[in-house]
Assembly symmetry: C3
């Protein structure tokens, strides 16, 4: 079971879809589970929400319950064959601050054996978030993303100490996505052999 | 239950007193509990010390016991009405290094649903600590405070993963304390509604 | 029980051997236990490996078992007299990323009352790792070591919150090893008295 995380704009989804494609070619059994989608499924079944956007507007305490139910579902999936990759975030920006994507009691359920953090330069992240970065230099926005990156690594470290699993930081450099994809694949191959 | 923390010199006490004043005006039930004061109360009752300064000179192991007793007291207070705000530190500077303000077993007792970290620029912090900052530039002192700030965020991240609660970093900018106060209030309002 | 950690090249071994020497002179009972050596001993007894290099090539999951056995051994040693100093790493570089030197379940066994992290400047670390640093300026290598240093402090913070023990960061400055040694000794003396 691997957790793959990344800030919005780090390019996690694109990297991950290429990883899945290449993994299939080399016969690696890989199953990607999106944490948010699992939360949405449960939230819908419980009639809490009708769409994804509404989840973010739920009280954090309700979101916590959805998080835990999703983790239990992942725990069940993990009992099958192949490697499960949980697509999620280390931190989620909320009006009440940075919320941990996978708190301790969820980590216990998921019991990951690997964490992969997809990162990119703050400028690149802002560009992918649709900001006009042509005039960005040392702006506040850049320093905010730097803070987010550092903080997400703090959270990854805490998750790593709690679970005992390694954290691989993969930099998704502009125009070099294939390198990032290969790095992720190499870590996953290591899990298979390890 | 919210934990509000900040390095000495970040302006936490001033921010907090204004938060309490405004909260009262809008009818928010807020009760501030000072962790250190609770520790002192217990230490006095047990005849360990007669004043606050002596606490810091107690062996860390004795201070740990006082910490745990204070956490149990806060746990009891939390069963009442309204929002409890625990006024404390993420880290405490001791001759043996950075000591965590609220270690895991205390977090378990306090069970916070929110962490608020009051920060300020290193220069501002040094100024409020009474240093003559007129000649400070990239001095060692500034880089030491930067390290402390980063490290206190590391500790906040670990506390957040352990408890599952969000961390709101509020910057107390010089001359803009009202903005910091409003940010804290907005987080607390979110807790009430959330 | 103290944990003393440092990145390869930080000079931990040299500092530690001088600490032991001076401690003996002043009558401090100090016993240094090398975590890696303990792991190797168990691995050999179990016929997993015949030498130290082979340990790093074992699957992480097997290394985890060795880690836990070593921690149990340290726990037994800790019941004796004097201060045990566990010589180890906060993080270990593996092909699958940063692996935590002492994950939560091991921390529980070791139950340290002090963490000491030996650090040095990235340039100094690279020099001690045998790199030609004469031309190094803002190279990728320097920024990689900076990242490692920051991340190792993230891990130290998580360990500190989990155990409740203080973290002393000791900078081993070039040509000033005696200062680093004295700082470590002073922390250890504090443990004895504390």
């Amino acid at each position: 079971m691997a957790i793959i995380a990344g800030l919005p704009g780090a390019g996690k989804t694109t990297v991950l879809s290429k990883v899945v494609e290449l993994a299939k070619r080399e016969g690696l059994r890989l199953r990607v589970v999106n944490y948010g989608t699992l939360m949405l499924k449960t939230a819908r079944a419980k009639k809490f929400v009708s769409n994804r956007d509404e989840i973010r507007r739920l009280p954090i305490e309700t979101q916590e319950k959805l998080q835990l139910l999703a983790s239990e579902e992942i725990n069940r999936l993990g009992k099958g064959r192949g490697i499960i990759v949980v697509d999620t975030h280390m931190i989620i920006n909320t009006p009440r601050g940075w919320w941990p994507g996978i708190p301790a009691k969820n980590l216990e359920k998921i019991a990951p054996s690997q964490i992969i953090s997809i990162e990119a330069s703050p400028k690149e992240i802002l560009r992918r978030r649709g900001k006009d970065t042509s005039r960005l230099r040392d702006t506040e926005e850049i320093s905010d993303v730097e803070k987010e990156l550092l903080y997400s690594r703090n959270v990854a470290a805490a998750c790593s100490v709690l679970t005992g699993c390694p954290v691989s930081v993969v930099i998704n450099r502009e125009g070099k996505i294939d390198e990032a994809v290969e790095e992720v694949l190499s870590v996953i191959r290591g899990m298979k052999n390890g």
